[in-house]
């Protein structure tokens, strides 16, 4: 076997050099880069929030100008929702999918690299605005016509429109890659009813992205056309429609909410069974609930627009749809509870985060039901109650499972355990800070405090809730920094992790920690949902993890049939290449050219993009097809 490992290593190894780092297409490296980059954006977004909470800590504070505050709240939302919450989940998926599926890489490794580089560059593009002092300032939702040139003449909203458009390229190609991977590169026997729930959740959100993102892309293109080419899509004075923006934005925006929570719920569905020492209760129900949430997510967008003067019948329909979508979430919730009830759980830091997540998930879900009730939403919408709701949803259902998931998979990624003692402190500080900081926002909303105000008068009766909120938010921030410190400390000095330190059941834990670059020496053959627990669960057939195809002649993996994953044929995976980086750089040049309206450069970049695409598509392995 040693010789097999050596031959595989030779095929798959990325040299430790600058060229190697820039040209690698290894999904594990890309996944880790996604995670680190998304956390950098999380910290930037957190700093923006910290500045805002300093302004709101007391009434009539003026140390931030209204203009600065408006830029900060816009960038906080935009950064967290677009450049943290979704990419961080892409990081997990990139890292984990091939390992969970028993494959050696994603279906399109070069597309994977391109997806990362465009994510990074779109973020750098967006933050160039900081250095020009022209950060977007019209809210992450950017309602027209406030975003039109007439009301926003500087570059602020050009950064927004073009930056988001750039990011949607990254997200769309990433989603296509996940769908292709899920349906083609799984280990033999990994039939669709054996997919880990995490795969189900990311697969669902990948479909959602493919269908939801065009609405956002179109909206951003229209906005930029309005602003810089003199068109009038969103300009009511010239026959355009302000409501068109709202519909396009929320047709995208509500599915996006599920896109940034479903994979995190998938993480919980992986971690909870491991620490409960049993497979998840109601696997089929959870998988169906995940998919139906993704589908129903497209039918609820109007609940963001109940105050826009729509006909009552239409509002009633969307109110009913918004309540219907609660049921699949409740199914998932009760699947976790049922898993707990049928077990004697072990409490470690990853599990603590999942228990905290369940608590916050319930609060965020219940406040969500309140907003689906039309008359009550007329009072709640655009108040701090909604701010509380989205933070319970996005922190509770995204950040808590993400950090819990990192405590869980960090040993796999780095070969070292995160510090358990610090981890428990980390959890409690974050959990208490979260509730002290964000629960009072519900009350601020009930007291009539609207969102997006840069200051408030002392006579409004909002002083105490805001003071408590600011202090809680800072406590929460300390909790997040404790996590960052734990990562840095444990990366250097953490306890060495075994291949399967949690005695978990899925394929990624059958590799060494960290896994070799080719993931699996032997492509496994899967015969149950929990291949590593077969010795105890005793399913009718046993998986084969040690014997099977080794595929040592080139970068090869197995391509399998979409549903039952019979082995179909060998798939050549692409070699390391600078091409994704080059294409992303050309796109960056294109977007800067559009931003500054240097049309000659834009044309040159577009031509170069065409050339690079042709180079990309040139067949490398005509006899096998391309990976």
């Amino acid at each position: 076997m040693a010789s097999i490992a050596a031959r595989l290593d030779e095929e798959w190894r990325t040299p430790h050099s600058l060229y190697g780092e820039l040209s690698t297409v290894d999904h594990k490296k890309i996944g880790k880069r996604y995670l680190v980059t998304a956390f950098v954006f999380l910290i930037i977004g957190g700093l923006e929030a910290a500045l805002m909470r300093a302004q709101l800590i007391g009434p009539n504070e003026r140390w931030l100008s209204p203009d600065q505050y408006n830029q900060l709240f816009t960038m906080h939302g935009t950064t967290m929702i677009f450049w943290y919450a979704s990419p961080v989940l892409s990081g997990f998926s990139n890292y984990l999918w091939p390992l969970m599926l028993g494959s050696r890489d994603m279906a399109f490794p070069r597309v994977n690299a391109l997806s990362y580089w465009t994510f990074l560059f779109s973020g750098l593009f967006l933050y160039t605005s900081l250095f020009l002092g022209q950060m977007p300032d019209r809210g992450w939702f950017a309602y027209a016509p406030l975003t039109e040139l007439q009301y926003s003449p500087a570059l602020n909203m050009d950064f927004y429109a073009l930056g988001l458009l750039f990011l949607t390229i990254s997200t769309t190609i990433g989603a296509i890659n996940f769908v292709a991977t899920a349906f083609s590169v799984r280990a033999p026997g990994m039939s669709i009813n054996r997919l880990p729930i995490f795969i189900w959740s990311t697969l669902t959100t990948s479909f959602s992205m493919i269908f939801a993102l065009p609405a956002l892309s179109v909206a951003c293109v229209y906005l930029w056309f309005d602003r810089r080419l003199g068109m009038h899509f969103f300009d009511p004075a010239q026959g355009g429609s302000a409501m068109l923006w709202q519909h396009l934005f929320w047709v995208f925006g509500h599915p996006w909410v599920y896109i940034i929570v479903l994979p995190a719920m998938g993480i919980a569905s992986m971690v909870i069974p491991t620490f409960c020492r049993r497979p998840i209760a109601g696997y089929t129900y959870v998988a169906l609930a995940t998919v139906s949430t993704g589908v129903l997510g497209f039918g609820v967008w109007v609940h963001h627009m109940f105050a826009t003067g729509l006909p009552p019948l239409s509002m009633t329909f969307f109110s009913g749809a918004s309540m219907t979508i609660v049921i699949p979430s409740a199914v998932s919730l009760f699947a976790w509870l049922a898993t707990l009830w049928g077990s004697k759980p072990v409490i470690r830091t990853p599990m603590l985060f999942m228990l905290g997540f369940i608590c916050l998930f319930v609060i965020g879900g219940l406040s969500g039901v309140a907003t689906a009730v039309v008359p009550y939403d007329w009072q709640l919408t655009d108040t701090y109650f909604i701010v509380a709701h989205i933070h319970y949803v996005l922190i509770g259902i995204n950040l808590f499972p993400v950090i819990g998931g990192l405590y869980y998979w960090f040993p796999k990624m780095t070969g070292r355990m995160l510090d358990e003692r610090l981890g428990r402190w980390n959890f409690w500080v974050m959990f208490i800070g979260m509730n002290v900081g964000f629960f009072p926002m519900h009350i601020a909303g009930l007291l009539g405090m609207p969102r997006r105000i840069y200051t408030y008068d002392g006579s409004m009766g909002w002083n105490t809730v805001n003071l408590v909120t600011s202090l809680g938010a800072y406590l929460f921030a300390i909790g997040v920094l404790m996590f960052v410190w734990n990562v840095i400390k444990s990366r250097v000095r953490g306890a060495i992790a075994a291949g399967n330190p949690w005695d978990a059941s899925t394929l990624e834990w059958s590799t060494s920690s960290p896994p070799p670059e080719y993931n699996f020496e032997v492509i496994p053959t899967v015969r149950s949902r929990d291949p590593l627990w077969e010795d105890r669960l005793e399913p009718p057939e046993q998986s084969s993890l040690r014997e099977g195809p080794t595929l040592t002649d080139g970068r090869l993996t197995v391509q399998s049939a979409p549903l039952d994953a019979d082995r179909v044929r060998l798939l050549h995976m692409s070699e390391d290449t600078l091409l994704p980086l080059i294409v992303a750089l050309v796109m960056l040049a294109l977007f800067y050219a559009l931003l500054f309206r240097i049309w000659g450069l834009a044309l040159a970049a577009a031509v170069m993009l065409g050339v690079a695409t042709a180079w990309w598509l040139w067949p490398q392995h005509p006899e096998h097809g391309e990976g």
């Binding site: 209204p66 406030l146 209760a281 003067g309 077990s343 039901v369 309140a370 009550y376 669960l537």
Partner: protein, 334 residues
């Protein structure tokens, strides 16, 4: 001398406003529709609390039986489907259907008034103030005011809203839910107050730099007081009575003021800023931001950009005499 007769009344209102430190909470409603919504809200809070407590019990009870070691602990499978179907699907479906059906009567009772309103006003949003227009007995004559809405108590008031620039949202929490002001469309809405008082409202849709300072007050008063107030608003201004006032009136006409503001009965016909015909009778300045006193008025005229950065009102470079005269004149417009 109607002006001076009304003065103690408006001073009283101003004092009431200043003493108004209670939050404008919609859970403490002052109108029948807001009351219905608040009742619905309390029900939702009660149901949510019960559900939360039940789920937390279900979450915490199994944690009583923990184990310490994870490595190679035994693993078992199966079970729990019934709990998922009952707790995750059946019970939530019953609760949600009940909530949905329960919300429908409130929806229909609050979206339109039970009878056709006798009074209709128009509210237009501007960055960052509210233009309010009243119809009078004479169909060709309307009264325009700003940032302050007077309504008779116990009466359904029809409100037609639109925007002159970007999207805004009209919201007086103690009286009604929100209605968005969207450029290019007119939305209909209604207001009602069942208790006399001053109710503070604010723009609820982010509308640019001074979104935080786009306040409005609703003054609910008896039918007689309301009629009195409206008659006062209908009257054009009378000629200035004191030397100071006439100096101020001249400064107003000569300076930039009349380009943007209207004072009915004079040559000032500007339409970009609020109608100032009876500005002296209003409770606040700068859309609810500062109380309408002589000192604040002078500060506002002299340095609007310092008080409310980004506002359309430019900084006026006036000498002290003109400034004082101008403020005195505007204050006399009751």
């Amino acid at each position: 001398m109607t002006g001076s007769r009304r003065r103690p009344g408006s001073m009283l209102l101003l004092l009431m406003l200043a003493a108004c430190v209670q939050a404008p909470s919609f859970m403490r409603p002052a109108s029948e529709p807001a009351h219905r919504i608040a009742v619905l809200g309390w029900w939702l809070i009660a149901i949510a609390t019960i559900v939360f407590v039940v789920v937390m019990v279900l979450l915490l009870v199994p944690l009583m039986h923990r184990r310490q070691e994870i490595a190679h602990a035994d693993v078992h499978g199966g079970g729990g489907e019934r709990m998922i179907l009952i707790g995750g699907a059946l019970i939530p479906a019953i609760i949600l259907i009940a909530v949905f059906l329960f919300s429908l009567p409130t929806l229909s009772a609050t979206i339109t008034p039970s009878s056709r309103p006798r009074y209709t006003i128009e509210v237009s949003g501007h960055q960052w103030w509210w233009e309010v227009t009243y119809h009078t007995a004479d169909p060709s004559f309307r009264v325009t005011t700003a940032n302050e809405i007077h309504i008779p108590v116990g009466e359904d008031i029809g409100v037609r809203v639109n925007s002159r620039d970007v999207a805004h949202s009209f919201w007086v929490p103690e009286l009604q839910g929100k209605i968005d002001l969207i450029p290019g469309q007119t939305n209909t809405f209604w207001l009602r107050a069942d208790k006399p008082g001053i109710y503070r409202g604010q723009c609820a849709e982010y509308c640019g730099m001074q979104h935080a300072h786009m306040g409005v007050v609703v003054v609910a008063q008896s039918a007689a007081q309301y009629a009195d107030w409206l008659r006062g608003q209908e009257a054009p201004v009378t000629a200035p009575r004191t030397t100071d006032d006439s100096l101020g009136a001249q400064a107003f006409q000569r300076g930039a003021c009349s380009l943007c503001h209207t004072i009915r009965g004079t040559d000032a016909h500007g339409v970009l800023g609020p109608d100032l015909t009876h500005v002296g009778s209003r409770l606040t300045l700068a859309a609810g931001m500062i109380p309408n006193t002589r000192g604040h008025l002078q500060g506002w005229i002299a340095n609007a950009q310092g008080v409310k950065p980004g506002v359309a009102m430019p900084t006026l470079y006036l000498d002290a005499t003109s400034l004082q005269a101008l403020a005195a004149y505007l204050e006399s417009l009751r």
